[in-house]
């Protein structure tokens, strides 16, 4: 059914659906718009929520849109506070959806974020290919050997 072999991972026929958002009062959304375009060009369907979202609005969007992955952009040093909250919210909702973070994240924080359950962390300057591959890899990881829609 799909015209986007690039977006597909093994076992699925539809394009990957990504919810993209920024949480709270972090107003720097230029990067998020660039990432949206990168993922679009990687053949994915991007549900763009933009600025001033909460864990609740992100979870609601993931449920209604049947998204495969959440992409959060963080530019205000809030990542260590917000990452556990979104991971908790995903698990509270009974969802099995990986979270990828992109933005200004010191290298030293990456392992802490991964331990909290963040699938991947993308830094400034990440290429379009790297961004697409990280998201695809996160989806692949969450699917395991299962077919797409459990």
């Amino acid at each position: 059914m799909t015209d986007s072999p690039q977006a597909a991972v093994a076992g699925r026929t539809a394009p990957i659906r990504v919810v993209l958002a920024k949480l709270g009062l972090d107003g720097h959304d230029r990067g998020l718009k660039v990432v949206a375009r990168m993922l679009r060009d990687a053949g994915m369907e991007v549900i763009y929520l933009g600025l001033r979202q909460t864990t609740d609005t992100v979870i609601a969007a993931v449920e209604q849109e049947d998204a495969d992955v959440i992409g959060l952009s963080m530019h205000n040093a809030g990542h260590l506070a917000l990452a556990p909250r979104i991971v908790q919210a995903v698990s509270d909702a009974g969802l099995d959806v990986p979270v990828v973070i992109g933005g200004i994240v010191p290298e030293a924080d990456v392992s802490a974020l991964k331990e909290m359950g963040i699938s991947a962390v993308l830094h400034p300057g990440a290429s379009a290919v790297a961004v697409g591959e990280a998201v695809r890899e996160a989806v692949r990881g969450s699917l395991g050997d299962q077919p797409v829609h459990d």
Partner: protein
């Protein structure tokens, strides 16, 4: 692991994640989609009002839909929105950017689902009515379908609606534009959005003229679309749009057209399905019998003549000679 039947039970019980999954099944088409369609059939009397919203990109459709949904929820409705955005013909990717305009206003009051066209006009034409039935089976209504009004596909999609709202913005062009065939003709309610901008009254006047001419030529039927001025960023006029939608629905009910529209929708859906099957059969035929193209490729036969030959064989189920 999760069967459609189980998902449907959970979706009807109000689990939004389950409905989200079912919508994906319906969107992908094929056997799973057919199974869902069979299951919801008995639960869909087709009574939920369906409102189509269309217009050129950037006219404020999503923002207005956010306010409409708020109005609907305020009067006891359980609105659901299907927001269609185009897929890239090159990569299949899409930016689904309608939700961002609606969420702030509509909050959690509506179920909003974004749908990409996925490069399959026929597929979308099948997925939209199926998704709407699924919404109804889960207790939602009114149902809103928002499409980018740039082509015939979108006009077709809005035909799944009882009432079609067409948005225009000031600066859409002069009276000649207003009289071109297409989008404006399918409007049951006309909205001039961004009415706080210069030129809004001129746009209204051009639309009024267009409607007057419809009377003169006799093409316009018994319904003259209301023209509503709105400013969607503030929500000004959204209540009037809602009233106009209701007035149109009453008109449809009184004149028996609601039933007529419903019948023609089923007719159209059956036709769309048959067309899709035939289309797939033709593609299959050409890819498995490339020899049928030889004459045309060598220039010894016109594409039209070759096509006529193939159609004849396909429709009469003859084996390739």
């Amino acid at each position: 692991m999760t069967e459609p039947g189980d998902l449907l039970e959970r979706a009807i019980a109000g689990e939004r994640r389950a409905l989200g999954r079912l919508l994906s099944l319906v969107e992908q088409g094929g056997e799973a989609a057919d199974e869902v369609a069979e299951m919801v059939h008995d639960r869909t009397p087709g009574e939920a009002p369906v409102i189509g919203v269309t217009g050129a990109p950037g006219t404020g459709k999503s923002t207005l839909v956010g306010h409409l949904v708020k109005e609907m929820a305020g009067t006891g409705g359980q609105p659901a929105v299907l927001a269609v955005d185009p897929s890239s013909p090159l990569t299949g990717g899409a930016i689904l950017g309608d939700r961002i305009r609606m969420d702030g206003v509509a909050g959690g009051r509506a179920f909003i689902r974004s749908m990409a066209t996925r490069g399959h006009a026929g597929g979308l034409a099948l997925a939209v009515p199926a998704a709407l039935r699924l919404f109804e089976a889960c207790g939602f209504g009114p149902l809103v379908v928002e499409t980018v009004g740039v082509g015939q596909v979108e006009v077709d999609v809005t035909r799944t609606a009882d009432t079609t709202v067409v948005l225009v913005a000031p600066g859409m062009g002069d009276a000649v534009q207003a009289n071109k065939a297409g989008l404006l003709e399918v409007a049951d309610v006309l909205v001039v959005n961004k009415a706080d901008r210069p030129g809004a009254d001129d746009t209204r006047r051009d639309l009024e003229h267009m409607l007057d001419l419809g009377r003169i030529t006799g093409l316009a039927q018994d319904w003259r679309p209301n023209i509503i001025m709105t400013t969607a960023t503030t929500g000004t006029g959204a209540d009037q749009v809602q009233n106009a939608i209701q007035a149109h629905r009453e008109h449809l009910t009184e004149t028996g057209q609601l039933e007529a529209r419903r019948r023609s929708r089923i007719h159209q859906e059956v036709l769309d399905r048959v067309t899709q099957e035939l289309d797939a059969a033709a593609s299959q035929y050409l890819s498995t019998q490339p020899a049928v193209l030889t004459e045309a490729l060598a220039g010894r036969s016109t594409p039209a003549a070759t096509a006529a030959k193939i159609s004849k064989r396909l429709l009469s189920n003859q084996p390739p000679s």
